[in-house]
C-alpha cells in the first residue's frame, strides 16, 4: 500500500483537495483521481508533450511531475482554458487552419501554444517551431499547427 498524502491546490480556478499516493504523477492524478481526461498519456516520460499542463503559469509535462508537488500551486489543464480568450483564438485557428486530424496531440499543443503566444505576442514561424519542439504529432506534419498558432497571435 503506497503512502497517501493530502494536498490542496487551485485547479482550473477552483480550490481542490485530493488524497494521492506519494509516487503518483500529476498526470495520473488529473486523469484517474480527478476525472479530467483532456490531458493525455502519450509516453509517460516527458518526450511527447501530450500531457502538457500549466503550473503556476508555466507549461510542464504532467507525467514528470509528482502529484504531491501540486500542493499550494495553480494548475491549469485544457479544460481550464475553456474561458480563456487566447485559447479560444487558438481553438478557432486550429479548426480553421486544419491543425487537427486525430486530435490526440491537440490539447497539449493548445496549452503549449498558449504559452508561446503569452511570451511572444507575434511570433515568427521559427519561434513557434522551437516552442513546439516538445510536442509530437504523427498526423499533421506540424505545418498547419504552426499556421494556426501564427494566425492566433494577437490582432494588430
Amino acid at each position: 500500500m503506497s503512502l497517501a498524502v493530502e494536498i490542496e491546490f487551485r485547479l482550473n480556478g477552483v480550490v481542490r483537495r485530493a488524497t494521492v499516493p506519494v509516487d503518483m504523477s500529476a498526470l495520473v492524478m488529473l486523469r484517474d483521481v480527478l476525472g479530467l481526461t483532456g490531458t493525455k498519456y502519450g509516453c509517460g516520460e516527458g518526450e511527447c508533450g501530450a500531457c502538457t499542463v500549466l503550473v503556476d503559469g508555466a507549461s510542464v509535462n504532467s507525467c514528470l511531475m509528482f502529484a504531491v508537488d501540486c500542493d499550494g500551486r495553480e494548475v491549469t489543464t485544457i479544460e481550464g482554458l475553456a474561458g480563456d480568450a487566447r485559447a479560444e483564438r487558438l481553438r478557432r485557428a486550429f479548426a480553421e487552419f486544419g491543425a487537427v486530424q486525430c486530435g490526440f496531440c491537440t490539447p497539449g499543443m493548445v496549452i503549449q501554444a498558449s504559452r508561446i503566444l503569452a511570451q511572444h505576442p507575434h511570433p515568427d514561424r521559427a519561434t513557434i517551431q522551437r516552442g513546439l519542439e516538445g510536442n509530437l504529432c504523427r498526423c499533421t506534419g506540424y505545418k498547419k499547427i504552426i499556421d494556426a498558432v501564427e494566425a492566433a497571435a494577437e490582432p494588430g
Binding site: 498519456y41 509516453c43 480553421e96 486530435g103 490539447p107 504529432c137 498526423c139 499533421t140
Partner: protein, 780 residues
C-alpha cells in the same frame, strides 16, 4: 422572386467537423472511457525470444487482493490461432517464439494491482536456439519456429509479365543492386487499447479502435464460437491508425477472454513501451533489383527478388508483395518484369500493415534505379522518367488500366515548381567545391491504388441516409474515421448533392449495429468508395425530394435543383420552396413519407487472377516529389530543407483536409528516410521509447510546396481519387537521389542516419550484400 446563389463546397477549405471538440479536450479516446464495473487488464509477455514454456505459476498472482482472474493458454483450450496463416494463438502455452509473446493475463480492480499481479507470475523457460536472420532460418537444419511450417517459409509470391531474359538481351545498360529496408513503427500518439464487455444475455460489446470493424466482428465470432449477430463493435475516436489496426491482435482477444472469465467488463490499454514492443511494425525487406534500359532511354526489364522477415507469426506484413509487385510491374512502363518474394519465419517481432503497405520499400529501389539508369545513359533524371511515364489509357503488364492518369503532369509540375534541373546541375558541379555543407536535389515518383483494392470478396461500402423535418441529415456510413477527415469529406459530398450547409449533417460511423458494411479503412479507399456510396444515397434522396416537389408544383423534375437549403429552378436559381418546409409537408400529409435512403457502392474493379493480374482498383493515383537536402559532410547530418510535391488526386474535395494528409505523409516519409529506426537485435527491441526512437519534431520539418493535378477521374466521387498513403511513399527514394546529387555517394539502406551517411561518405560503410548477414551496427 428570391434567387439562391449556388456555392459549391468542392475544393473549399472545410474545417474538420470534430476539430472544436478535439481542441477543447472533450473528445474521449479509448483510454478516456471507463465503463461501470470495469476491471483493468494487463498482459504478461515473454522475457525470452525463443523458448519452451516449462511451467507457469500464477498462484501468487491469483491470491493478490483485488485480482479477479488470471488466465493462461490452459484456461482457453478452445482458442484457435489468428492471422492470415492462422499460425498465431493469442495466449502461448507450449512455446514462445518472439519477445512479444503473451503468456498470461490478469484482470484486477485497478491498473496498479494488475501490474503488481503480472509481476508475481512465475514462468520457467527452456531456451531454444534463436533465429533472427531470415536467411539463416531458410538454411538447412534451422530450428523450426512455427510448427505449421517446418521449412520456416510463411509465404511465397511469384509474378511475371513478359520475359525478363528477352528484356535483358534488349538492354544497353543493366544494373543490379541490393537494398535493405528497416523496421519502423506507427507511433500513433494514442496507445492501443480495448474494452470488452458481455451483457446479461452474453452478447459481446467491444470498444475497439479497429480499422476493419466488420471483418473484426466476423473474426471474433469465429474465435469465440459465437453468432456474429451477437457481437457489436463500437469505435471510440482513434489516436491515430496508419494501418496499425487492420489485423486482429492478441491483446483484444485476451481482453475478451478476461471479460468472459471475470464476468465483468475489462479495459486493457498499452503503456508506450508496450506499444513500441507489441504493436506491429512496417515490413522489413531485403531486396535485389536488376533493371535495364536501352540507350534511347526506354526501360526494358525489372527482375526482383525479396526476402521478407516474417517474424514469429504471420500478419499483414507478409502480404506486402501484393502491393510491391504493382510498383515493380507498373511504376513507369516496363515491358518485362519478374518478381519473387520468400517470406521466412524468424524469432523477430512480426510486421503488419503500415501506410503504403510495401510501396515505400519497393519505390525506394525502383526510383533509386531510375536515377542510376538515367546517369548511365547520360540522360537527365526528368527526361528519363518522362520517357517512361505512362499516359491515360495505358494498360500495364499487370493488367492495371490507367484511365485517369496525371503521371506526366506530376513530373513536369514538380520539376518546374522546384527548379529541379537547374538545381541538379548546379549541385553536381558543387560536389568538389570547398565547404562542408553540400546541397542536393532528388526526384521520385509513386504509383498507388486510388480507387480501392479488390482483395476481399467485396470492396464496397454501404450508406444509410435520413433527412428529418428540419432538413438535418444523418449520414450513417460503414467507413470509419481514423483522423484522416473522412467524416468531413463524406458530409461535404452529401451537402453538395443536397444543397445544404456543412452544419446540416451528422455523421454516424462507429457502431456496427447501426452502420452498413464497409470492408475497412485501408488502401486509401475511403474518400473514393465511401464517397461514392454517400453520393449514391444522397442522389436517391434528391430524386425523391425533387419528385415530390415536381408533383407539388407542377414544374418538371429535370428543371429543379437543390441549392442553399431550397428547392430551386435549376436554370435561374429562383427559390421554389424551402427544403425543410417541403419535407414537413411530405411527412405530415395523407401519404406520410420520410426521406430515408440507402446505397451500397461496389467499385467496378476486378479480383486479380492466380498470376496476380487484373485491374484491381477502380482508379490509380500518382505523385512526384522533389526533395531538397543539405548534407553536412562533417557529421553526416542530412537536413531536408524543402519538398515540392505534385499529386494526381483526381479532384480536390476538401482542400484543407487533403493538404493536411499530404503534409503529414511527407513528414512521415521524412522520418522513414532520415530518423526513425526500431532497433531489433537478437530479437529484442533496443529502443522502445521516444527518447531513442526519433520521430520528426516541429523544428525539423521541410518547407512544403504542394500542387494538385486534377485529372477528374470518371468513376471517382466528384472526380476524386484516394491519397491517404501516397505522400509517404516516395520521399525516401527522392532523398536517396538527393544525397547522391549532393555528394556523389549512393546509399542503399535506410534510414539515412548521420552515422550511416558519414560512413558512406568516408567509404567505410558495410556493403549491403544480398543474402549475407550484414554486420550489426550499434546504431545506424
Amino acid at each position: 422572386m428570391k434567387v439562391i446563389e449556388r456555392e459549391t463546397l468542392i475544393g473549399k477549405r472545410i474545417p474538420k467537423l470534430d476539430a472544436p471538440e478535439k481542441a477543447s479536450g472533450k473528445t474521449r479516446y479509448i483510454d478516456d472511457i471507463d465503463v461501470p464495473g470495469q476491471l483493468w487488464g494487463k498482459i504478461l509477455r515473454s522475457t525470452r525470444v525463443h523458448a519452451r514454456i516449462k511451467r507457469i505459476d500464477v498462484s501468487k498472482a491469483r491470491r493478490l487482493p483485488g485480482v479477479h482472474v488470471v488466465i493462461t493458454a490452459a484456461d482457453v483450450p478452445d482458442q484457435h490461432p489468428i492471422g492470415v496463416n492462422k499460425d498465431h494463438p493469442a495466449l502461448k502455452g507450449d512455446k514462445v517464439r518472439c519477445i512479444r509473446d503473451e503468456i498470461a493475463a490478469v484482470a484486477a480492480d485497478s491498473a496498479a494491482i494488475a501490474d503488481e499481479a503480472v509481476r508475481l507470475i512465475e514462468v520457467e523457460y527452456e531456451d531454444l536456439p534463436v533465429v533472427v536472420d531470415p536467411e539463416a532460418s531458410l538454411a538447412a537444419g534451422a530450428p523450426v519456429i512455427n510448427e505449421k511450417h517446418a521449412d520456416n517459409v510463411a509465404m511465397r509470391f511469384d509474378y511475371a509479365h513478359g520475359d525478363v531474359v528477352q528484356g535483358e538481351a534488349e538492354s544497353d545498360v543493366v544494373i543490379e543492386d541490393s537494398f535493405k529496408l528497416h523496421y519502423v513503427t506507427h507511433c500513433c500518439m494514442g496507445v492501443s487499447g480495448v474494452i470488452a464487455e458481455f451483457d446479461a444475455s452474453g452478447n459481446l460489446l467491444l470498444h475497439s479502435n479497429t480499422q476493419v470493424p466488420f471483418l473484426h466482428k466476423r473474426e471474433f465470432a469465429d474465435l469465440l464460437g459465437m453468432d456474429p449477430g451477437r457481437i457489436r463493435i463500437v469505435q471510440p475516436p482513434i489516436g491515430g491508425g496508419f494501418g496499425s489496426k487492420l489485423d486482429i491482435y492478441p491483446f483484444e482477444i485476451i481482453a475478451v477472454y478476461l471479460a468472459r472469465a471475470a464476468q465483468r467488463p475489462v479495459k486493457l490499454v498499452y503503456t508506450r513501451a508496450e506499444e513500441f514492443l507489441a504493436s506491429p511494425t512496417r515490413q522489413p525487406v531485403i531486396l535485389k533489383l536488376r533493371s535495364g534500359c536501352r540507350k534511347d532511354g526506354t526501360l526494358t526489364f525489372r527482375s526482383v527478388e525479396t526476402l521478407h522477415d516474417n517474424g514469429a507469426y504471420t500478419s499483414w506484413g507478409a502480404t506486402t508483395p501484393f502491393v510491391m509487385m504493382q510498383t515493380f510491374s507498373s511504376l513507369y512502363r516496363v515491358p518485362h518484369c519478374k518478381y519473387h518474394t520468400t517470406v521466412a519465419y524468424t524469432n523477430n517481432p512480426y510486421a503488419g500493415s503500415f501506410r503504403g503497405y510495401g510501396n515505400l520499400q519497393a519505390t525506394f529501389a525502383v526510383d533509386s534505379h531510375m536515377d542510376k539508369l538515367a546517369e548511365a545513359i547520360g540522360m537527365d533524371p526528368l527526361a528519363f522518367r518522362l520517357k517512361n511515364a505512362q499516359a491515360p489509357g495505358e494498360v500495364t503488364g499487370q493488367g492495371m488500366v490507367f484511365r485517369s492518369c496525371g503521371f506526366r503532369d506530376c513530373l513536369t509540375t514538380a520539376a518546374e515548381r522546384s527548379g529541379f534541373l537547374a538545381q541538379h546541375i548546379r549541385n553536381r558541379a558543387a560536389q568538389r567545391a570547398p565547404g562542408a555543407v553540400k546541397r542536393g536535389v532528388g526526384m521520385a515518383s509513386m504509383l498507388h491504388v486510388g480507387g480501392g483494392a479488390k482483395i476481399y470478396p467485396s470492396d464496397g461500402c454501404g450508406t444509410i441516409l435520413k433527412i428529418d423535418d428540419f432538413a438535418h441529415v444523418t449520414l450513417m456510413t460503414g467507413a470509419s474515421e481514423i483522423g484522416q477527415g473522412s467524416e468531413t469529406v463524406l458530409a461535404q459530398l452529401v451537402c453538395e448533392e443536397l444543397g445544404l450547409p456543412m452544419s446540416a449533417v451528422t455523421v454516424v460511423n462507429n457502431d456496427t449495429d447501426i452502420t452498413p458494411w464497409d470492408v475497412g479503412v485501408h488502401a486509401s479507399r475511403t474518400t473514393f468508395i465511401a464517397g461514392n456510396s454517400a453520393i449514391g444515397a444522397a442522389r436517391i434522396a434528391k430524386a425523391k425530394i425533387l419528385g415530390a416537389a415536381a408533383k407539388k408544383t407542377g414544374i418538371a423534375e429535370s428543371e429543379l435543383d437543390l441549392v442553399g437549403g431550397f428547392v430551386v429552378r435549376a436554370a435561374t436559381g429562383e427559390a421554389i420552396v424551402e427544403l425543410a418546409k417541403l419535407l414537413r409537408g411530405l411527412h405530415f400529409s395523407d401519404k406520410a413519407e420520410l426521406v430515408m435512403t440507402s446505397y451500397y457502392y461496389e467499385p467496378p474493379s476486378v479480383h486479380q487472377d492466380k498470376g496476380f493480374k487484373g485491374d484491381v482498383s477502380a482508379a490509380y493515383a500518382w505523385a512526384t516529389q522533389v526533395v531538397e537536402v543539405e548534407v553536412d559532410c562533417d557529421t553526416g547530418i542530412v537536413k531536408m530543407t524543402k519538398v515540392t510535391g505534385a499529386h494526381d488526386v483526381g479532384r480536390v474535395i476538401n482542400r484543407l483536409g487533403i493538404e493536411g494528409q499530404i503534409e503529414g505523409g511527407v513528414v512521415m516519409g521524412q522520418g522513414y528516410a532520415l530518423t526513425e529506426n526500431l532497433l531489433i537485435e537478437d530479437g529484442r527491441v533496443r529502443n522502445p521509447s521516444f527518447r531513442d526512437y526519433k520521430l520528426v519534431t516541429a523544428p525539423e520539418i521541410p518547407e512544403m510546396d504542394l500542387a494538385f493535378i486534377e485529372t477528374m477521374d470518371g468513376e471517382g466521387p466528384q472526380g476524386a481519387k484516394g491519397v491517404g498513403e501516397a505522400p509517404a511513399i516516395c520521399i525516401a527514394a527522392a532523398t536517396a537521389n538527393a544525397i547522391y546529387n549532393a555528394t556523389g555517394v549512393r546509399i542503399y539502406e535506410l534510414p539515412f542516419t548521420p552515422e550511416k551517411v558519414y560512413r558512406a561518405l568516408k567509404g567505410v560503410a558495410p556493403q549491403v550484400a544480398w543474402r549475407t548477414r550484414t554486420e550489426p551496427h550499434a546504431s545506424s
